[in-house]
């Protein structure tokens, strides 16, 4: 879920209102027909590749017959062209969606940064946890117990009677703010709930909330 990506509420006719304003038309009919035609051609090419052996073409001793050669190499060409055509149609579709704002436009530098982040995260999972394992976005390396600073500050506050715990209220997203990613919403919420649970158990056991704050 990308918070910067505008959503599109497309109707049955493929037309809808984009969250950034303005109408967008998803020209799916055009792309679907192109994909279908190319997929059928790809299947025909694969069939041409195997047909000489499936249909048992006559083969002269020590080589392929002329019909086999023709069908095989024509099949190779059809498979290659239809694969390239599928890629081109997919690129056309993704470009159209990017222009419409359905898919966020990513610059080359942003893609490189995204790949580097993925590699760093992979290294953190496979070996020793890197110092940046707990990222600012709230992602925590597996096995680590980390509480975002905002949740820790709000955890020891007493809950008002009849209402939700203060920590939960503090972790709840502001409805007026732009939509955040699932991680950004769920991680602080789950952490705040966990801290609240720990605080209550410590209080039941006779310890004060200060112990819960220090004993995360």
């Amino acid at each position: 879920v990308n918070p910067t990506a505008p959503s599109v509420a497309a109707g049955s006719d493929g037309e809808g209102r984009c969250s950034t304003g303005g109408w967008v038309r998803l020209r799916l009919g055009r792309h679907l027909s192109a994909f279908a035609a190319t997929a059928v051609s790809l299947l025909a090419g694969i069939w041409l590749l195997v047909a000489p052996w499936v249909l048992d073409y006559p083969q002269p001793s020590g080589g392929w017959g002329r019909p086999t050669l023709i069908d095989f190499w024509t099949g190779v060409g059809v498979v290659a062209v239809s694969s390239a055509t599928l890629i081109l149609y997919a690129a056309t579709l993704s470009g159209a969606m990017r222009r419409m704002g359905v898919v966020p436009a990513q610059t080359r530098a942003a893609r490189r940064q995204h790949r580097a982040d993925g590699r760093r995260a992979g290294r953190g999972r496979s070996g020793t946890p890197a110092p940046e394992a707990a990222t600012p976005s709230g992602r925590v390396a597996p096995g680590a117990v980390a509480v975002p600073p905002g949740a820790v500050r709000s955890a020891p506050e007493p809950a008002p009677a009849g209402g939700p715990p203060a920590s939960v209220a503090a972790a709840a997203p502001d409805p007026a703010s732009p939509p955040a990613s699932v991680d950004d919403v769920l991680v602080p919420l789950a952490t705040a709930l966990l801290a609240d649970l720990v605080r209550r158990r410590m209080a039941d056991a006779g310890d004060g909330p200060t112990a819960a704050q220090g004993g995360r």
Partner: protein, 96 residues
């Protein structure tokens, strides 16, 4: 209403569909040129029958693909031109 641009009708993938259609023509016609014309009254071999059927399928599918691509492209280009001429607010950004 502006005349639709050729680039909006002829996407890159459309050229691939044209090549696939020509591949069907090759299977139907060109094969006879290379493999030789079968004798009159001779029974069709499995290879000849297969090439005719697959060639016809490629021509049909390719032609249908080209037709739908051009038809949808024309429709969208005309719709975009009409919206621009009407001065509709928030005209379709995909058509730009």
């Amino acid at each position: 209403v502006r005349t639709p641009r050729l680039t909006s009708l002829m996407s890159a993938g459309l050229w691939g569909t044209v090549v696939l259609t020509l591949g069907g023509v090759w299977l139907l016609v060109g094969r006879v040129l290379v493999a030789g014309r079968p004798a009159a009254g001779a029974v069709w071999t499995a290879a000849a029958r297969n090439d005719v059927v697959v060639g016809a399928v490629l021509i049909l599918v390719g032609s249908a693909g080209i037709f739908t691509q051009v038809a949808f492209g024309l429709r969208d280009a005309l719709a975009a031109g009409t919206r621009r001429a009407d001065g509709a607010p928030g005209a379709d950004p995909a058509e730009r």
